[in-house]
C-alpha cells in the first residue's frame, strides 16, 4: 500500500447522475480520489462500475452533477476534452489495441500525434515502457500475434506513454486466460506502489486487498460502501456487500 | 413539370407494370433459389456441384448477358417461353394487354439471375446459425433432419430475412433492364420513350421515373434497416 500525498484531490465526482434511457445507471454518486490514491471499485454485474470509470474521462457524458479533474471541471468537447483525455490513461477489459499498428506504433501514436512530440524521443520512451511491462521483445509484432496478457500490458504501456496524471482500469484482467492474470496484476501493483493515481474496476480481490487504499462497492448505480480494504473485507457493512462477497469468495 | 401531370397515367402504368414484373420475378426467384440452396448444402457431391456451378455462373455473369440469352437466344432455339403460360400466369400476361414473349423472357432472365443470390442469402442464413446450436442439438441425440427442422432452419430463416430483402431490392432495380429488352411500358422504357421519342423535357421525366423506383426501393430498405437493428439488439 502506497502513501497517499495530501493536498486537493485529483478527481472529484459530486452528485453525479446518469441515465441510459429509463435506466438510472449512476445514482447520485459522489467520490473523491486523492493524488496517488488507488481506489478499487467492485460490485455485481450491471451495477454501473464501468460507467463510473468512463465518466471520469468523459467517454460517457453525465446527466447531472459535476466532475472535476485536477481542479478543473471536465470540458464538454473539442480540443479541451481531447487534452483532458490525454492526461487520463485508460485501460480496457478488451485491451483495444489498434489492430492495424504494431505494439510500438500503438505506444508512440498518442505522444506523436496528440502531443506532437519528436518521434525519435517518443520511441526511446516507448521502448523503455515496453521493457518495464516486460514485452520489449514484442515491439514490432501486431496485437493479434500476442497473448492476452501481453496485449493488456502493451495497452498499459500505451496509456503510460502519455504520462498521465491518473489511470483508469476497467476490469483489466477479466478477459484473460487464468494463467495470464498474474502478469498483468504485477504491472499494476508496481504502478500503484510508485504513486500513480488509479481507479481500478476489478474482481481480483487479492489485488484489492494488497494494492488499494480504498475499496468502493457499488450496487444498482449507487455507491454503497467506501472503506479501506482491510475493513471492507473483514466487515462489510451493507447486506448487499456481504452477499456479493460471499458469492465471489467461496469457490 | 407538365409532363408529370399530363402523362401521369403513363408514369403510373409504368410503375404498375414494373411492380408486376418484380412481384412475379420475386416469387420465381425465391422458389428457384430455395431449390438451388437445397442442392448447395446437399450431402451428395454431384448435386452440390450443380448448385455451386449454378451460383458461380449466374453470379459472375452480367444480367445483361442473361437478358440477351433469354430475349435473343431462346428465340434462336425456337422457344417463345410458352411453358410460362400457365393458367393463372397467362391471365396476368394478358391482363397487361400484351402477349408478347418479352415479358416472359425478362421474367426468365430475372428469375435465373436472382435465384443465385437468393440461394446465397439462404445459405448465409444457415451459416449465421452459431455452430454451437447444431452441436447442442446433435449432442442431445437429434438426427440430421430433426436438427434441421427443430433447430437450424427456424433460426436460419430469421438470419436470412435481411439478406433476402437486399436481394429483392437489387432485383427491383435490376428489373429496369427489362425495358431495354422489349418489355414495353415499364418505368425504364417509359423514361426512354418520353425523352427520346416524344421529346419531353428531361428533368421532369427523370424525377417522375426516379420517384417510381424510389417508392419501391427506399421503404423496403428502411424496413430492412429496422429489422436488422432489432435483430442486432436482440442478440
Amino acid at each position: 500500500m502506497n502513501d497517499v500525498t495530501t493536498g486537493e484531490p485529483l478527481i472529484v465526482l459530486d452528485s453525479v447522475n446518469k441515465w441510459f434511457g429509463p435506466l438510472h445507471v449512476l445514482d447520485d454518486v459522489s467520490l473523491s480520489v486523492g493524488r496517488g490514491e488507488v481506489v478499487v471499485v467492485i460490485g455485481p454485474s450491471g451495477s454501473g462500475k464501468s460507467t463510473l470509470c468512463r465518466t471520469i474521462n468523459r467517454l460517457e457524458p453525465i446527466n447531472s452533477g459535476t466532475i472535476t479533474f485536477d481542479g478543473q471541471p471536465l470540458p464538454a468537447e473539442g480540443k479541451a476534452l481531447a487534452k483532458l483525455r490525454s492526461e487520463v490513461g485508460m485501460v480496457f477489459q478488451s485491451f483495444n489495441l489498434f489492430a492495424h499498428k504494431t505494439i510500438l506504433e500503438n505506444v508512440t501514436l498518442g505522444p506523436v500525434k496528440v502531443r506532437k512530440e519528436k518521434p525519435a524521443a517518443v520511441r526511446e520512451r516507448a521502448l523503455a515502457l515496453l521493457d518495464r511491462v516486460g514485452i520489449a521483445n514484442q515491439a514490432d509484432k501486431f496485437p493479434a500475434q500476442l497473448s492476452g496478457g501481453q496485449q493488456q500490458r502493451a495497452a498499459i504501456a500505451r496509456a503510460l506513454a502519455m504520462q498521465p496524471k491518473a489511470m483508469l482500469f476497467d476490469e483489466p484482467t477479466s478477459a484473460l486466460d487464468p494463467e495470464m492474470v498474474g502478469e498483468v496484476l504485477e504491472v499494476m501493483t508496481s504502478l500503484a506502489s510508485e504513486g500513480m493515481t488509479m481507479v481500478v474496476v476489478t474482481h481480483e480481490m487479492g489485488f484489492a486487498r494488497h494494492a488499494a487504499n480504498r475499496v468502493i462497492f457499488m450496487a444498482d448505480g449507487q455507491l454503497v460502501e467506501d472503506a479501506p480494504p482491510a475493513e471492507f473485507f473483514a466487515n462489510p457493512r451493507s447486506a448487499r456487500a456481504k452477499d456479493f462477497l460471499s458469492k465471489i469468495l467461496t469457490h | 413539370m407538365n409532363v408529370l401531370i399530363d402523362k401521369f397515367d403513363v408514369f403510373a402504368g409504368g410503375f404498375w407494370l414494373t411492380l408486376q414484373i418484380c412481384l412475379l420475378a420475386a416469387i420465381g426467384a425465391l422458389l428457384l433459389g430455395a431449390v438451388v440452396a437445397v442442392l448447395r448444402i446437399s450431402p451428395v457431391p454431384p448435386l452440390r456441384a450443380v448448385g455451386t456451378a449454378y451460383v458461380n455462373i449466374f453470379r459472375n455473369m452480367p444480367l445483361t448477358v442473361v437478358m440477351f440469352f433469354a430475349a435473343f437466344g431462346l428465340p434462336a432455339l425456337g422457344s417463345n417461353a410458352d411453358f410460362l403460360r400457365l393458367p393463372g400466369l397467362d391471365a396476368v400476361f394478358n391482363r397487361l394487354g400484351t402477349d408478347l414473349p418479352y415479358f416472359r423472357f425478362a421474367l426468365i432472365a430475372l428469375v435465373l439471375y436472382t435465384a443465385a443470390f437468393v440461394c446465397e442469402a439462404l445459405r448465409s442464413g444457415v451459416n449465421a446459425v452459431p455452430p454451437g446450436q447444431a452441436e447442442a442439438a446433435r449432442s442431445l441425440g437429434l438426427t440430421f433432419s430433426q436438427n434441421l427442422r427443430h433447430v437450424v432452419l427456424p433460426q436460419s430463416w430469421k438470419a436470412s430475412v435481411v439478406p433476402l430483402g437486399s436481394v429483392i431490392i437489387a432485383m427491383i432495380k435490376n428489373s429496369a433492364l427489362a425495358g431495354f429488352f422489349g418489355v414495353v411500358g415499364d418505368l425504364a422504357q417509359t423514361a426512354d420513350q418520353l425523352t427520346s421519342a416524344e421529346g419531353f423535357a428531361f428533368v421532369p421525366v427523370a424525377i417522375g421515373i426516379s420517384i417510381g423506383y424510389l417508392i419501391m426501393t427506399v421503404p423496403l430498405g428502411a424496413l430492412l434497416d429496422r429489422i436488422e437493428k432489432r435483430q442486432a439488439v436482440a442478440r
Binding site: - | G78, N80, G97, T98, L100, Q193, S196, A197
Partner: protein
C-alpha cells in the same frame, strides 16, 4: 469501300475555307466525328474490321474528303435512331449520316443537307408468310410488328395498327427486330425498304418484303440547325458527287448489291 481515302487533297490547310466556318474548323483540327448506324447492312454496319461499312458511310467519306481530312481521322459514333437529333444538338458529332429521313418535325431541332437518296417504308415478313401483304394487314389487331424507337416508320405504322400496346414492339436497333421476327416473336418488321433489303440479302432463306413501299423517306445529312454554311457545303459536295460518279460508285459498292434501285440523282433541297 473508299480505297482512295488518304490520297491527294487532304491534310491540314490543304483546302481553304471561309474563316470561322465549320469547314475551316474541321479542316484545321484534321478530325471529324460522324454519327451513323452500326447495325444496318448496306448503309451502316460495323463489321469484323471494326470500321463501319455501307452507303451512308461512303457518302460521309465523300464529304470528309472534300473537307480535306483523311479518312482514318474520322471517328465513327453509333447513332441509333432515337438519339440522332440529340447528338447533333449536343455537338457530340459534327454530322449524322444514318438513313435519316428529312421531315419537318426534325427540322425544328436540326437541319438537313440532301436528300442523297429516297427510300420508302416497307414491311419485312417471314419467307413463308402470305397473310401480311401491306400495312393494312395490321388493322385487324392480330399481327405484331416491330420497329425502332424514334424512327419515322414507328410513328407511321401506328396509324395502321388497331392496338399499339399489343401489336407494336419497339427496340432501340433494327437487328433486335430482325431477331424477333426470325424467332417468331413478331410477325413483321417495318422500316425503310433498303434497310430491310439489307437484312434480306443476308438471309434470303428466311425473309422477304411484303408488298410495296407505302411512304417516301428521303435521306438527308443532319447538321446543326443554324449551320447554313456547312449545310450548303454538304449540298454542294453531294451535287458534285452525283455528277462525278462517286455517288453511284458508293452505291454500287454497298447497298447496290442488295437489289435496291439507286434511281436518278435526287435534287438537293436548299432552304
Amino acid at each position: 469501300g473508299g480505297d482512295d481515302g488518304s490520297s491527294e487533297g487532304t491534310g491540314a490547310g490543304s483546302k481553304s475555307f471561309a474563316a470561322g466556318s465549320t469547314m475551316e474548323r474541321l479542316n484545321k483540327a484534321q478530325a471529324i466525328k460522324i454519327g451513323t448506324k452500326f447495325d444496318q447492312p448496306g448503309f451502316g454496319q460495323k463489321g469484323l474490321s471494326g470500321k463501319p461499312e455501307g452507303f451512308d458511310v461512303e457518302v460521309a467519306k465523300i464529304i470528309v474528303k472534300e473537307l480535306g481530312i483523311p479518312e482514318d481521322k474520322i471517328e465513327w459514333v453509333e447513332a441509333p435512331s432515337k438519339v440522332r437529333e440529340d447528338v447533333i444538338v449536343n455537338g457530340t458529332v459534327d454530322l449524322v449520316a444514318a438513313t435519316y429521313t428529312i421531315n419537318d418535325k426534325r427540322k425544328e431541332r436540326i437541319a438537313f443537307a440532301g436528300p442523297y437518296y429516297e427510300a420508302g417504308q416497307n414491311i419485312m415478313v417471314k419467307k413463308d408468310d402470305t397473310a401480311i401483304t401491306g400495312p393494312d394487314s395490321f388493322k385487324d389487331g392480330t399481327k405484331k410488328v416491330c420497329s425502332v424507337t424514334g424512327s419515322t416508320p414507328a410513328e407511321t405504322i401506328k396509324q395502321y395498327v388497331k392496338d399499339v400496346a399489343t401489336q407494336l414492339v419497339l427496340f432501340d436497333t433494327y437487328d433486335k427486330c430482325r431477331d424477333a421476327l426470325k424467332g417468331g416473336q413478331v410477325d413483321a418488321v417495318t422500316t425503310d425498304n433498303v434497310i430491310l433489303l439489307g437484312y434480306i440479302a443476308k438471309d434470303e432463306a428466311s425473309f422477304k418484303l411484303a408488298g410495296d413501299n407505302f411512304t417516301k423517306e428521303p435521306y438527308g445529312i443532319g447538321v446543326k440547325k443554324e449551320d447554313t454554311d456547312f449545310r450548303n457545303f454538304i449540298n454542294d459536295t453531294l451535287e458534285k458527287a452525283f455528277n462525278d460518279g462517286s455517288w453511284k460508285k458508293a452505291w454500287d459498292d454497298t447497298a447496290g448489291k442488295f437489289g435496291a434501285e439507286l434511281g436518278a440523282a435526287p435534287t438537293v433541297n436548299r432552304y
